[in-house]
Symmetry: D2
Subunit: 287 residues, 4 copies
Amino acid sequence: MEHDIQSFKELSKNYKVIFFDSFGVLKNADGIINGARQTFENLIQSGIDYFILTNDASRSLEHLSQNFKEIGFDKDIPSEKIISSGMMAYEFLKQKINSGRVVYVGTEQSATYIKSLGLEAVSIEDINFEEAYLNTIKALVFLDDEGFEWRTGINNCVNLLRKINIPVIVANTDTIYPTNNNNISVAIGGIADFVESILGRHFIKFGKPDIQIFNYAFEHINKGKQIYEKSDILMVGDTLTTDIIGANKFGIDTALVLSGNTIKSKAETVIKSLGIAPDYICNSIRS
Amino acid sequence: MEHDIQSFKELSKNYKVIFFDSFGVLKNADGIINGARQTFENLIQSGIDYFILTNDASRSLEHLSQNFKEIGFDKDIPSEKIISSGMMAYEFLKQKINSGRVVYVGTEQSATYIKSLGLEAVSIEDINFEEAYLNTIKALVFLDDEGFEWRTGINNCVNLLRKINIPVIVANTDTIYPTNNNNISVAIGGIADFVESILGRHFIKFGKPDIQIFNYAFEHINKGKQIYEKSDILMVGDTLTTDIIGANKFGIDTALVLSGNTIKSKAETVIKSLGIAPDYICNSIRS
Amino acid sequence: MEHDIQSFKELSKNYKVIFFDSFGVLKNADGIINGARQTFENLIQSGIDYFILTNDASRSLEHLSQNFKEIGFDKDIPSEKIISSGMMAYEFLKQKINSGRVVYVGTEQSATYIKSLGLEAVSIEDINFEEAYLNTIKALVFLDDEGFEWRTGINNCVNLLRKINIPVIVANTDTIYPTNNNNISVAIGGIADFVESILGRHFIKFGKPDIQIFNYAFEHINKGKQIYEKSDILMVGDTLTTDIIGANKFGIDTALVLSGNTIKSKAETVIKSLGIAPDYICNSIRS
Amino acid sequence: MEHDIQSFKELSKNYKVIFFDSFGVLKNADGIINGARQTFENLIQSGIDYFILTNDASRSLEHLSQNFKEIGFDKDIPSEKIISSGMMAYEFLKQKINSGRVVYVGTEQSATYIKSLGLEAVSIEDINFEEAYLNTIKALVFLDDEGFEWRTGINNCVNLLRKINIPVIVANTDTIYPTNNNNISVAIGGIADFVESILGRHFIKFGKPDIQIFNYAFEHINKGKQIYEKSDILMVGDTLTTDIIGANKFGIDTALVLSGNTIKSKAETVIKSLGIAPDYICNSIRS
């Protein structure tokens, strides 16, 4: 099964709603993907709705929206159009943790939501190991790979979880992300996997390829009515193991773009070796 | 965190809906779990609704319901009260595969639904490897550990997937199941994992701990309205790595019963070593 | 690091001893590799010594030698020139198990050596689960993927090891092997990995890439004296993850041949993606 | 199979040579294990020989010996009595890398041996990613979890290995080590596993449970003659997954001590769940 390269503009006309991944699709380390603004203009003019489904727990939806605006999307991506893995994790916290301390791995900014729930947010770097203190900790949440010294943070996670049995929430399952055209960084999901494998535990994970985020988006656009069918929706992503397999499983069509994690010269090889096939391949959302 | 043993009868009164796992909770290899019928009488009398959420793709919902009737549940578990991982897989097939051959791993009975979609169902034992034939195959579905010779079936899966790139659906993620009080058997999810690891591929998997089945049940009981909150529901299961962590993630309360995979003498050790904590522990649903 | 294709004939002249893998290097499913006999004639004439290092526990060294003779190697590969992973496993059994029953997974032929140690060899298909019987079992040995019905065999392994704590020996770590030009079969090492993952256990494994077999060969050719240095030896194999990384680790030079598991069109891609680099690449040992 | 606790003093009389693990057996984070000095006096008086087999690449044998002296072993453990995983890695480097830069992950002290081979040792923190520079790098070696900032170090490893294909050597396979009575730290082997899993690569690893270190010790004490049989040797360790399974596989008897990683209350549970059985269990080497 060799794929022809499709025009995204033409392809998008067959759908009523487009779900976009963010990094590698709408933006990269240098800023907005070339021509992406025009693509959004076209969608709006054609009456095609869209949502951004992103594995990101480092910032609130408002901050994510603000960032899209700053890099050149103007007002096209308000916070209501964004659904993040962080939101899924917050829903869980809200449902299950009513009081006490929640330890977070990430930046202070990433912990904003924890505080807004009336919980005490403590950085993994700042915990102490006295028993009275440990007893006040209700959950551990992995949010961002920045904001803490890795040696202290990772070792504190390991030792904390050897001493107390609390829910551990991973609010972004990505293992790597690009930092510029040539380099990548380990992401918070990769750090969580590392701690999980050291301990032999099972953490509670939120984000693509899990279908929860697709499901949330689907309910959101249907608002309790049956406005859209799954066949009305196209997922556009740059990563086979999150965007494409997740949308495959959720039962919507998929387009792989070659502007991010999956590069053109390797696309067919990777598709074959992983066994994850997109319905379509486009160079980028630009054309 | 040591757990006290709770009375299931008392516990259930705090909820409006109970989700039950099937094997190890309602029945075991010897038939109905002692006292389970009475439990259902009590729920019905108290106006507490219930659903069965089961990782099973070996039979249709009608057959599953019929089996509950035969072992002693009378009419308490009609097919409308059952939600199976098989159903999730069928929804996917219906959405994504319109024509052609679907190869299945399992019994002929387990393939009934494939045929009802107008697709040609071929047992993994009966495929041939000529190119013209291979081109007509649209998907591979793992349904049941019975109905095929393992050596032929597993090797055919491996060779088929080395030659063609098709969606692979795992309709039951369980890796083992009890065959009697003392022994277990590898389940179809275990066989699928084996093939996946030999090939280094990513299959599309349906069943607990994935939250999809919980979500489907939740939508089903709410019928598009907001009748029940997540806090109205209790999940009752015997397996930490499927029932309990899945329901944890979906955000509903959980009760572990000790009548199946998790035995009393090891419960606390396993809870600690896996890091998966139920909200409650009951001996069985009987008392 | 792109590799040029080397002439094996020229390359071999730089070494005093050549270690050969068997399958994919000397023979394949059709019989002897084209021209391999002539290569051995040349080595003998040039005074270059050689040994066959093979992951194989299905037959004795005598049977392996006999098979080489039958497919066309005449007397060039006597049993003294063969070192098998089976031998390593037998050394272990001899050292550690003095009496009682040893359960084997494989053909009756593969169990010959167990019997020659004065132990009772019982096929995994023929065990019973009564406690008195279980107490007489001293070890479980994985030998061959043939000779037993997989469903019964694999489930018996799982249930046996849940009931008693005995050493489990894997006498061939290969996970797959080619059955003809187009197809592969799961090998006994793959089946052992499957059982290990179902149980979460650690088995005792013999065979490349473990350096033990290289070490044994090295001691064997040096006979307690310091006749050969590691730099005098070249390992020739078709599989990066066993032959090449094992020899790399043992500290001898390596040549990858493209006549077996690693095909020419994918060699550089696989080398890069696995991160395992041979020192040289040859089409086959023929030229 | 329940184990009685044996007296180490009595047990040791049945052997001619004792192999000891270091951390958790001879010393812990507080210093020398209580009574260990006396044990060595007894061995010397009884004419029982001994060697230390340690997964350690952070220091030279001389430094390791010096440290034993300082904590109270006096002159009982000279460097000739120590065999480290670092040594195994150095042998490999000496054999395979003749010139150029070797990048190391660890302290400056841990890189001493690289320099003594005439190679240029560069810390992972100090590399640059220009092509001309990258071309001079011949290997990457994981030595110690200290001496570098983890975020920079781990990300540099990932990016370096995405750009160039060089041998990667892990000179200590331990994943964790105790830092005091209550806490552990991720060890360099754990960090290497993390990088390996992010990249999907195969690194070259040295240290127990690999039998290479046992083999080296065995050859060392036999000095080319057949002085000792394997049945003359007892391995004493605190870790099932390195000391005990490695020695099991090498074919020598094993004693688990409960003074380190495996604590008394959990020993039988861990032995059963891992399926790794020592021949004997002792509280410590003291008694």
